[in-house]
């Protein structure tokens, strides 16, 4: 089916250490006494919690609904009681806590009612919404929501690529999954092909996993479809990188700023295909995943673990050796060190690696860069890591961006080959984070400027409005005065007005006469003595007034 495989530039060939954990079949991990389910499962967005502490939940019950385009729902991994909704440490390089739902399992594993989803009659949009509500995210490690990737993109999707390369050393969860559940993976892939309308499916598996390749080929034969191709790709890290695998299988090189969908290609992890199958065929949301426990363990292996199981409860399954001094979530190349064992397994957790001073010795001290160019030879993104290193180290971020810093996939090849043992990826991560933070800051400053200028404009407008109001008021007063003046100067009245005026005058006359008739009672019937007394008082008053007059004037 495939005439030719292509190559990507660079890459490394570390010892793959796959055999340690592939000998045993996948085992079911027991339920821990306490599950911590972070609300932030898909890489970029946090779901909205809809349960309350004390509430009983069933396995697969929605505990948080998706909000926003890059969000997926979160479900209860088992039946039990919600004990708390609080910030808990999550597996993140920062080690900071994030809102999580703490569930105490009742051990009964009672499911919610599950209904298979009828994909044949549903529209692609309905199917994508269903997968979002089932909480399906990419299980390869980045945790990007699958329903977004299943969207049609610009030109539609012709080729669906299943990523079974699993290129990072030590990790074997996809390998065991393909060996044991090949038919389910391909059934899930067929469903995704139906949703996207793709023509063919390519499964890329590194050739160091012959059993997995054989199992997948067998399943493809049993399915009897010609358009499913299982391809063994050369083992070379990072063959499982999305852009690298697309390059190897199709020869398409995806340029900066573009996605696979621009070229009709979309890539999914085999675990995601399996989760899609469980969701559509059995109505089961994503509540568990396969996790590899490997490294410095007595009994390394793969386990099906409920999402939210604390790492601490997981470790006894593989029995860590006595000299274990640290744990890494993910592989040795791209994983992040765990700062606490209380962090739970999330949907993106593919591996927990135990390290010891002999197995993963502490990095030797960094030496100066000698510009040997080994990193540029190893870089699968075809960058010049040494240039990026100079600029990141000197914090000249603009230049680092000119050298395509954001094309870096942080695979760690450059750090691996560096003879001066410079932690190059750490510098790139620092530079990327700093650039993002600055962009955010700039956006905030722009908003502040806009709001400040708006405020100034508003104050100016209010001032003008006030002035206009005052002017209008003054104008109204003047008009009134002018009107009164005009009234006074009005010439002779009309006969009608004259009659009205006469009536009013007559009424005033009557009122006056009435008033004169009414005398004040206390001065009506006075004796002559009383009258004389009043006259004398009035005279005195007049005299006093006369005397007071010059004083008043002086006061003035």
């Amino acid at each position: 089916m495939i005439a030719q495989l292509f190559r990507f530039k660079g890459g490394i060939k570390p010892n793959s250490h796959k055999d340690e954990s592939t000998t045993q079949p996948i085992k079911l991990a027991p339920l821990p006494p306490r599950l911590v389910v972070p609300l932030r499962q898909s890489a970029r967005a946090m779901a909205r919690c809809i349960v309350e502490p004390g509430q009983d939940v069933l396995k697969g019950q929605v505990i948080a609904v998706a909000e926003g385009p890059l969000c997926t729902a979160v479900h209860a991994p088992t039946s039990g009681t919600v004990r708390a909704i609080e910030p808990q440490p999550i597996p993140h390089p920062s080690g900071l806590p994030a809102p999580s739902v703490v569930i105490e399992p009742d051990g009964e594993e009672r499911w919610v009612e599950r209904f298979p989803f009828d994909i044949a009659t549903a529209t692609p949009q309905q199917a994508r919404d269903y997968l979002r509500d089932c909480g399906i995210v990419g299980l390869g490690g980045a945790g990007f929501p699958s329903h977004v990737k299943l969207g049609p993109g610009e030109k539609g999707i012709q080729t669906l690529i299943l990523n079974g390369a699993e290129c990072e050393p030590w990790i074997t969860c996809d390998d065991r999954l393909m060996r044991e559940r090949a038919a389910q993976i391909l059934a899930g892939a067929a469903m995704m092909r139906h949703i996207t309308g793709a023509r063919r499916i390519l499964v890329g598996i590194e050739d160091n996993k012959p059993q997995a390749i054989e199992a997948m080929r067998q399943a493809a034969r049993e399915l009897g479809e010609k358009e499913i191709g299982v391809v063994a790709v050369p083992t070379r890290y990072p063959a499982g990188g999305e852009k690298q695998l697309i390059r190897v299988l199709t020869g398409i090189e995806i340029p900066y700023g573009k996605l696979g969908t621009h070229f009709g290609v979309q890539c999914f992890n085999v675990g995601s295909a399996h989760a899609v199958y469980r969701a559509i065929a059995h109505g089961e949301p994503l509540v568990s995943r396969i996790v590899t426990l490997s490294g410095n363990f007595e009994r390394p292996g793969n386990f099906e673990v409920a999402i939210g199981t604390p790492i601490r409860d997981l470790l006894p399954l593989a029995v860590p050796r006595a000299d274990t001094n640290r744990y890494i979530m993910g592989g040795p190349m791209m994983g992040v060190g765990l700062q606490s064992l209380d962090v739970p397994v999330i949907k993106a957790t593919n591996c927990v690696l135990a390290g010891s001073p002999t197995l993963f010795p502490a990095p030797p001290p960094e030496m100066p860069c000698i510009r040997c160019g080994e990193c540029a030879k190893a870089c699968p993104a075809e960058l010049q890591p040494f240039e990026l290193y100079w600029y990141s180290r000197a914090k000249i971020f603009g230049k680092a961006q000119e050298y395509s810093l954001f094309d870096c996939i942080e695979c760690g090849c450059c750090s691996y080959v560096c003879p001066s043992r410079i932690p190059l990826v750490d510098y790139f991560r620092f530079a990327k984070a700093e650039i993002w933070a600055r962009e955010k800051e700039k956006a905030a400053a722009d908003t502040a400027r806009e709001r400040y200028e708006f405020r100034l404009a508003r104050e100016e407008r209010e001032k003008q409005e006030k002035a206009a109001k005052l002017a209008a008021k003054t104008a109204a007063g003047r008009e009134k005065a002018a009107a009164a003046l005009a009234e006074a100067q009005k010439p002779a009245r009309t006969p009608e007005e004259e009659a009205k005026h006469a009536l009013i005058a007559a009424a005033l006359e009557r009122a006056k006469a009435q008033k004169e008739q009414a005398h004040p009672e206390n001065v009506s019937d006075l004796t002559p003595e009383q009258q004389a007394e009043i006259t004398a008082i009035e005279a005195r008053r007049a005299e006093i007034r006369e005397q007071a007059k010059p004083h008043l004037r002086q006061d003035d």
Binding site: I90, F430, A437, E441, T447, R449, Y452, E453
Partner: protein, 183 residues
Amino acid sequence: MIEALLVMALGAVILGAALGYAAVRFRVEGDPLVEKIDAILPQTQCGQCGFPGCKPYAQAIAKGEAEINQCPPGGDEGIHKLADLLGREYKPLSAEHGIEKPKSVAVIDEAACIGCTLCIQACPVDAIVGAAKQMHTVIATQCTGCELCIAPCPVDCIRMEGIAETVDSWKWKYPVVALRRVA
């Protein structure tokens, strides 16, 4: 002789027309230097520089009336950027204008707020909502941390709170180079 004069005159006319057209066609609105300086300033609008906002400060710098080290929120990095842009000498932050502090937001103690609206009038970016005799609150995402609302509050119910680091705002740190004892 006359041909030479004509050729030169024609050349002058053509070039003059071209320049005139370019002056109209590529006319620059406003002062681009002020815009550039304003883009470096943090837009806190706090007035610590002695000017009523970031834009007036930018204008003063452009005119050469103000030093480049009067902006505490912009900090050392801001001064370096201004020095690079303007070709001026770097100077440490002038102490009389304040000190560089970590970014923070204003928080109103809503139980103590009497609804006097004084802080609303003081806020340069309209980040406080409320009405007379009603409780006020700060829109944290819009707050620039300028501290202008603190002084007018008659009941001292506004305080500045540092912004806590979350999973979303966390940044990878600068790689620490381990020192090795050689002797």
